[in-house]
């Protein structure tokens, strides 16, 4: 949506055709002789060495898994091992030219990429840089495990190789000295100082994240490129397509400002080993036949797609050289189809029931280690004995490293008996960071000149006038104004903050929270995303992982399903899976609808609250919205920030003096007493607050019952002390929210309260939630969402009979049993 691009019917209706150019397949034809001008003998031999190290590493794991021993080391490894024998040339060829400024993201089968990229980094970094990196990592813990065990003492590169192999293997074996303290494991190990970013056990999971990392490089003008390494079968996953599209969206060049109007610096690389577990992608499960074809469907550049022979390291290096050039020219992104073959099974339990021995034997004939060596010998680069010496050295090194990584003294696991809080302490980083870069934030005008800021200045920051009457909607400072103030404040403080989502720019957000933001911010900080919730959230994860702060929006809560993996498995988990190395300053604004039926009106707070690693907020007042958003945007943790479309326009009715003009934060986890009372406690999450208040009035007027109203404000974390104090006083509690009653987070709260205040309870805590139905049409919503009368009904039926009360909703035990029996 932009007025600057004219959609001209006279042009668009003209007959024309879409033209494609040929997509190269295995076009590399150079001989070793020809390559001698690009590679020294040492280079040729190092390529062999690196491939050989990967082969040995994977073979070692295979032997440990299948025979319980490797050379002199005996060990039982119960964890996963997705091995990559056969794919060594692809990994080493890709890493050869990459520097530590270039970041790779991988898959469950990424041991080879970790080692290749690490060996490449060791080759390129100075001894001083290497020493500093090793000394500072985990306070030197990993280094201490291998230090002094080298043949060539004082050789930092030798030491660094041991460090790399050991750090990766110790991680595979879940040791505290591993790259992620053993909390990532085989499928997730990574080491950011060498530009190795998280590998992902969800197929295709890295595509959106890597795209976000590339966005970080582009927006913040960081050096280097990003490589997304996923498998050929991941093109069956929607988020991968979303990443391709969003990574190549035209606005980068058509709309973004000078200096930012280049393509995204990313290579979408597919390690195309022709199988997704056992499903054969070429000919069976996929349609593309040759994966590189896909690039042609994504953008006019065809993503410069190409299939390269991943069984030849020199072909891969050649392709990488050309692709990096394209990106440096600003013409990214690039799609690379790196053809390879997995000699090992999907995992050691794979019986190869889906492929023939003939096929495996045929590929074994092409084994890169054998063929590359033969070619080098033939081209007189080296002799057989040179290779034998490399092999011998590698086996010796691997045996040593394996011995150390399996030694419980040298490589202990996290001791959760002695330090039970080790994992809980990394679930959240709980830091406050004003800005992630010191440069001046890019903005288009001084904040005070912003039309929205000027408009808000005229509004009444307190919801009532001098006579106590509510200020009209047009004149009152609304909840959406509170959100806006907190957000624009952070935009003017943190230059790395970006915000995007569907219809954010120009439109101002579907619910006008972002009105005025278009005027204030350039495209590269505030833009419209495609209708791609997975890519929206996944890219925010990658952006934050790389060092920036992201504010992404899901227009309707109901669309969370579209970003399920990105929210539940990526956003929530990387801080702790990285053992606290990664920070995740991402706020996902989620708008909870109403009036729009079954797929646009659901409150899914309970679903996200269930997933460990996410903070969850749901403010109901302008004061709380501003303060909680300020907290969320100053923090370093992922926050799912719920907003309700019912109450974007409410004025402040509780915070005496109205919403402060200046900056302030409301800490997460602290519920707030909105009305004091003595006879019953009502705990509300989100917009139901405004249906609780009439119930409170009815209780008071009709029955002389004084209710205390507590607004949860945030759900995770949550400090129960204030609620317990209230319940100890009143002995009774009703919990209310718009979430469907079954499995509602309120049930969790009710249970916790029952446990913690049992002796003080005069009745069981009672939950009043929405019915376990589809949300019906707006005209029928009063039968679905909690109403003020329902609260009285519940109290009358379950807590305290109200003399003469006539119920509108059925809260009887019999009805509860009946509904549960029917699952409704």
């Amino acid at each position: 949506m932009t007025k600057s691009l004219f959609l001209d019917p006279n042009e668009l209706r003209k007959p024309d055709k879409v033209k494609f150019t040929d997509i190269p397949v295995n076009q590399y034809k150079k001989t070793i002789e020809e390559e001698k001008k690009n590679f020294s003998k040492a280079d040729f031999m190092r390529i062999y060495r690196d491939m050989r190290i990967i082969r040995e590493f994977e073979t070692m794991l295979y032997l440990i898994k299948t025979t319980g021993a490797y050379n002199t080391v005996e060990y039982n490894n119960p964890g996963p091992a997705h091995l990559s024998m056969g794919q060594e040339a692809s990994a080493v060829g890709q890493a050869y030219l990459l520097t530590t400024d270039d970041n790779i993201f991988g898959s469950h089968r990424s041991h080879g990429e970790i080692l290749a990229k690490g060996l490449s980094a060791i080759e390129k970094l100075s001894e001083k840089e290497l020493t500093e990196t090793m000394e500072s990592f985990l306070g030197g813990k990993t280094l201490r495990a291998i230090e002094g065990k080298q043949k060539d003492k004082g050789n930092v590169k030798e030491l660094a190789m041991d460090f790399l192999l050991y750090g990766a293997l110790a991680e595979v074996f879940a040791r505290e000295t591993g790259f992620n303290k053993g909390l990532g494991g085989s499928m997730h190990a990574f080491f950011t100082p060498f530009g190795i970013y998280p590998n992902n056990a969800i197929v295709g999971g890295s595509a959106t994240i890597a795209m976000g990392a590339a966005l970080y490089k582009k927006v913040n003008k960081k050096k280097g490129i990003v490589v997304s390494n996923v498998g050929d079968a991941s093109l069956g996953c929607g988020p991968v397509w979303e990443a391709l599209n969003m990574g190549a969206m035209e606005q980068f060049t058509t709309l973004w400002e000078e200096g930012f109007n280049k393509g995204l610096p990313i290579i979408f690389n597919f390690f195309d080993n022709l199988y997704g577990m056992g499903g054969q992608t070429m000919g069976e499960t996929m349609a593309y036949h040759i994966l590189a074809r896909v690039g042609a469907g994504v953008s006019p550049t065809q993503l410069h797609a190409e299939r390269v022979d991943g069984y030849n390291p020199l072909a891969v290096i050649d392709a990488m050289r050309r692709k990096i050039d394209i990106i440096k020219k600003g013409d990214g992104p690039v799609l690379l189809d790196t053809l390879t073959y997995r000699m090992a099974g999907h995992s050691p339990s794979d019986s190869d029931s889906y492929r023939t021995k003939e096929e495996k034997d045929a590929w074994a004939e092409h084994d890169v280690l054998v063929n590359y060596k033969a070619k080098l010998i033939k081209a007189r680069v080296a002799k057989e004995a040179d290779f034998a010496k490399i092999d011998e050295d590698i086996i010796e090194r691997m045996t040593k490293v394996c011995g150390l990584a399996t030694n419980d003294e040298v490589s202990p696991r996290i001791d959760l008996s002695k330090q039970p809080d080790t994992i809980e302490s990394i679930m959240f980083s709980n830091e406050k960071v004003e800005k992630f870069d010191d440069r001046k934030p890019d903005v288009l005008m001084p904040m005070e000149e912003n039309p929205r800021v000027q408009q808000i200045a005229k509004r009444s920051r307190w919801g009532f006038d001098a006579k106590g009457k509510p200020v009209s909607k047009n004149k009152v400072y609304q909840l959406r104004d509170g959100l806006f103030e907190a957000i624009i404040d952070r935009f003017y403080k943190d230059p790395t903050l970006i915000a995007y989502g569907e219809d954010n720019r120009d439109w101002g957000g579907a619910f006008a929270v972002y009105r005025g933001m278009t005027e204030a911010l350039p495209y590269h900080r505030f833009f419209n995303a495609p209708i791609s919730e997975a890519a929206i959230v996944g890219s925010a994860v990658g952006y934050a992982m790389s060092g920036g702060r992201a504010l992404a929006e899901i227009m309707y809560c109901d669309f969370i399903g579209r970003a399920g993996d990105e929210i539940f498995n990526q956003l929530a988990k990387w801080q702790s899976m990285s053992a606290g190395i990664i920070k995740m300053p991402v706020v996902i604004r989620v708008s909870v609808g109403s009036k729009y039926g079954a797929q646009h009106s659901q409150d899914w707070t309970s679903i996200v609250a269930h997933i460990p690693g996410l903070k969850v907020a749901f403010p109901a007042t302008p004061y709380d919205a501003k303060g909680l958003m300020a907290s969320a945007l100053a923090g370093t943790d992922p926050v799912i920030f719920f907003e309700s479309q019912r109450i974007y326009d409410v004025g402040e009715q509780f915070h005496e003096g109205g919403v402060p003009e200046g900056y302030y934060e409301i800490p997460f986890g602290e519920p707030d007493i909105k009305r004091a009372g003595s006879d019953i406690t009502i705990l509300s999450i989100g917009a139901t607050l405004y249906r609780v208040l009439p119930a409170v009035d009815m209780l008071k007027e009709k029955y002389g019952i004084s209710a205390e109203v507590i607004d949860a404000r945030s759900i995770v974390p949550f400090n129960y002390e204030k609620v317990l104090e209230s319940v100890k006083k009143t002995g009774r509690i009703v919990l209310v929210s718009d979430a469907c009653e079954r499995g509602s987070h309120l049930k969790d709260m009710a249970q916790t309260i029952s446990e913690l205040a049992f002796d003080y309870l005069d009745a069981p805590p009672v939950v009043v939630g929405a019915r376990n139905w589809i949300t019906p049409a707006h005209e029928l919503e009063n039968y679905f969402f909690p109403q003020p009368e329902w609260i009285l009904d519940a109290i009358n039926e379950k807590i305290l009979p109200l003399p003469g009360h006539v119920s509108t909703a059925n809260f009887t035990n019999v009805e509860q049993i009946r509904r549960n029996k029917l699952g409704v």
């Binding site: 002796d759 003080y760 309870l761 005069d762 009745a763 039926e797 009979p801």
Partner: protein, 434 residues
């Protein structure tokens, strides 16, 4: 065909009855009119007769069980018939398993000298239990007003506020708890009585009989009455010459007119029923926040019964003739004494008359039946002396003791009621002609 026998509902307010005695055992032959079992409410005792002949083929409750009204109690039918369809459903509030367990526990405690009120079969909120425990009150004392018959905090608080708690508590006070923070656990309940029994061993033989339900009720309401109200008693006497003469007349010729045996007490009832109409504060209920006035006089008549004091009510006594009052008071007293009175007749009074005169009491302090505001005690007849025309003259003097609730009524209005009653009794013929 098998026929279930239900626990009858005796009056609106009765929710359950206790089976006092089984007259037939399972397997006995039963004829129509045979007594099956005796059951009691907290106020009265009833017999259930067989309305079918056959064999008592199943019995669902034992003596002492508290059975919800309208629940099947037993089944009469032909031998060998299946009765499972009649077996009362295991209501959640019955918790029979739990009950049984507690019975065993009491036996294990070797017939404790102190009855421990376990509360497993009573529904009470944790908060209500905690409050009761803290105040040393048996939570079962409280009348449940919560959902599904649950005793909630306010119910226990009502007991505390009535001052009854301490007096009637036989709960966990004095028992050393072994739970966290000294909390008394179920296990602790069994131990304490044993310890108490050991201590009590050298003391002279004592027979301890658990209180009957009716005694508990009397204890509760009397104590509540005294502790909650501001009661004081006014004493006076009157010349009983005229009413004694009237009584003598009735005795002599009443039968001819078909009159009942009108006693002096009936005469007092009659006068009171009329006098009260002019003293609405004394024919009222005091709720603490309001006064409830009644257009009719529902006269409670205290009756001494083998079970204890009962107060049946003569409804709308002010509309009834002396003869009607006399007849009804006799019937009510007989029903109360035999224990077959309907519970509905044992409540609803607006003022009470009690008589200890027949036992020679000259003056006493009657205790008000809350929430009534007054009670008149009728004393014995003595010989009084008064000065008539300068001469001392003996006459039959009868005493009256009026207790009133000073919260509801002040001294002078109460005294005025008493004065009107005295006038009515001394000028009974005038009263009758009104």
């Amino acid at each position: 065909m098998a026929t279930p026998i239900i626990m009858p509902k005796q009056g609106q307010s009765v929710e359950s009855c206790i089976i006092a005695k089984w007259h037939k055992q399972k397997g006995d032959k039963v004829e129509v009119g045979d007594m099956l079992f005796t059951y009691e409410t907290d106020k009265a005792t009833f017999d259930e007769e067989a309305k079918e002949a056959g064999t008592l083929i199943d019995v669902f409750f034992e003596e002492g069980d508290d059975v919800p009204c309208l629940t099947n109690v037993c089944v009469i039918g032909a031998e060998g018939e299946d009765t499972s369809a009649f077996k009362p459903a295991g209501d959640d509030d019955d918790a029979p398993a739990e009950e049984a367990k507690e019975e065993v526990k009491e036996e294990e405690a070797e017939k404790p000298a102190v009855t421990v009120n376990t509360t497993g079969d009573v529904k009470a909120s944790p908060r209500a239990r905690a409050l009761a425990e803290k105040n040393g009150i048996d939570v079962t004392m409280a009348a449940p007003t919560g959902p599904y018959g649950r005793i909630i905090e306010r119910d226990v608080r009502a007991v505390i506020d009535s001052g009854l708690g301490a007096a009637l508590s036989s709960g966990t006070a004095g028992i050393a708890g072994t739970g966290i923070g000294g909390k008394v656990r179920v296990e602790d309940l069994g131990k304490a009585p044993a310890a108490a029994a050991a201590e009590a061993a050298p003391v002279a033989e004592v027979t301890e009989v658990p209180l009957s339900n009716i005694r508990k009720v009397i204890a509760k309401s009397m104590h509540a009455s005294l502790s909650e109200m501001a009661q004081l008693t006014l004493n006076t006497s009157f010349d009983a010459t005229e009413i004694m003469a009237f009584r003598a007349k009735v005795k002599a010729g009443g039968e001819q007119l078909g009159l009942a045996n009108i006693t002096l007490n009936d005469i007092v009832l009659y006068v009171v029923s009329r006098a009260l109409l002019n003293h609405k504060d004394m024919n009222a209920h005091f709720t603490g926040t309001s006064m409830k006035y009644f257009s009719n006089v529902n006269l409670g008549v205290a009756v001494d019964t083998p079970r204890g004091l009962m107060v049946p009510t003569i409804f709308a006594a002010n509309t009834k003739s002396l003869n009607q009052i006399a007849t009804e008071s006799k019937e009510l007293a007989a029903a109360a004494q035999s224990g077959t009175i309907s519970p509905d007749l044992l409540s609803g009074g607006t003022f009470t008359v009690t008589n200890l005169g027949s036992l020679g009491i000259e003056s006493f302090t009657p205790v008000i039946n809350p929430p009534q505001t007054g009670i008149l005690g009728v004393d014995t007849i003595t010989t009084g002396v008064k000065e008539v025309n300068g001469e001392l003259k003996a006459y039959k003097q009868m005493g009256l003791s009026l207790t009133f609730d000073h919260r509801a009524v002040d001294g002078a209005p109460a005294a005025r009621l008493l004065k009107d009653i005295v006038f009515g009794l001394e000028n009974f013929s005038l009263m009758l002609s009104k």
